[in-house]
């Protein structure tokens, strides 16, 4: 069904605003951690803190899916194809690296890197996907 947006704020603008807000929080909390602001924290607070750090990532994924939901069928279809291709590429790379860690002593990389890896993959696949067919 074609979506007709009645809001004066376009879906793309909402997405940019939401992404900026979520990523600001993400950068701020990670920057504070790098600057040793949470070094004295003990379990179980560390578990809670870890989920707090992950929350903006969940929020940003929600912002992306909300943008797709509120966009018209072409934008939604194109974004969905790119999203699927990028997720597939990111999973393939993460799986390959995981096996290299297991069997070839490759250096360990945190699973948290899957999110930046996904966006890097999104950037790589997007120029090659420009139709919804």
């Amino acid at each position: 069904m074609t979506t007709v947006t009645h809001s004066t704020t376009t879906p793309a603008r909402k997405y940019h605003i939401r992404t900026a807000l979520f990523m600001s929080g993400y950068v701020a909390v990670n920057l504070a951690a790098i600057l040793d602001a949470f070094d004295d924290m003990k379990s179980p607070a560390t578990w809670v803190f870890s989920l707090v750090v992950a929350a903006p990532v969940v929020g940003q994924i929600w912002a992306l899916l909300a943008w797709m939901r509120d966009s018209d069928e072409f934008v939604r279809g194109l974004a969905a194809k790119r999203f699927i291709a990028a997720a597939g590429l990111a999973m393939a790379i993460a799986s390959a690296w995981g096996f290299m860690e297991l069997y070839a002593d490759a250096p360990h990389i945190s699973a948290a890197m899957i999110y930046p890896l996904f966006w890097a993959a999104f950037g790589i696949v997007s120029p090659f996907i420009h139709t919804t067919r």
Partner: protein
């Protein structure tokens, strides 16, 4: 999907943005239809049909053969 959108739009002096607003999609969506980068949903095809006052198959070529409308 081959179509006559660009010609029909030009006959009415509508920009892609004008047509997009009339049928509730973005200018990019109209451009993608005209350049055959997007096949419309049935819903959008009917919206365009109403906007141009033409049956769907006078706007979009049936990719599966001839129809009684053409």
């Amino acid at each position: 999907m081959k179509n006559r959108l660009k010609m029909l739009r030009a006959e009415r002096n509508w920009t892609q943005d004008d047509l997009g607003k009339r049928v509730g999609v973005s200018r990019q969506a109209i451009n993608a239809l005209e350049t055959e980068k997007h096949d419309p949903s049935l819903d959008l095809a009917y919206r365009l049909s109403i906007e141009f006052g033409l049956p769907v198959e006078r706007i979009f070529e049936n990719p599966h053969g001839r129809s009684s409308e053409t």
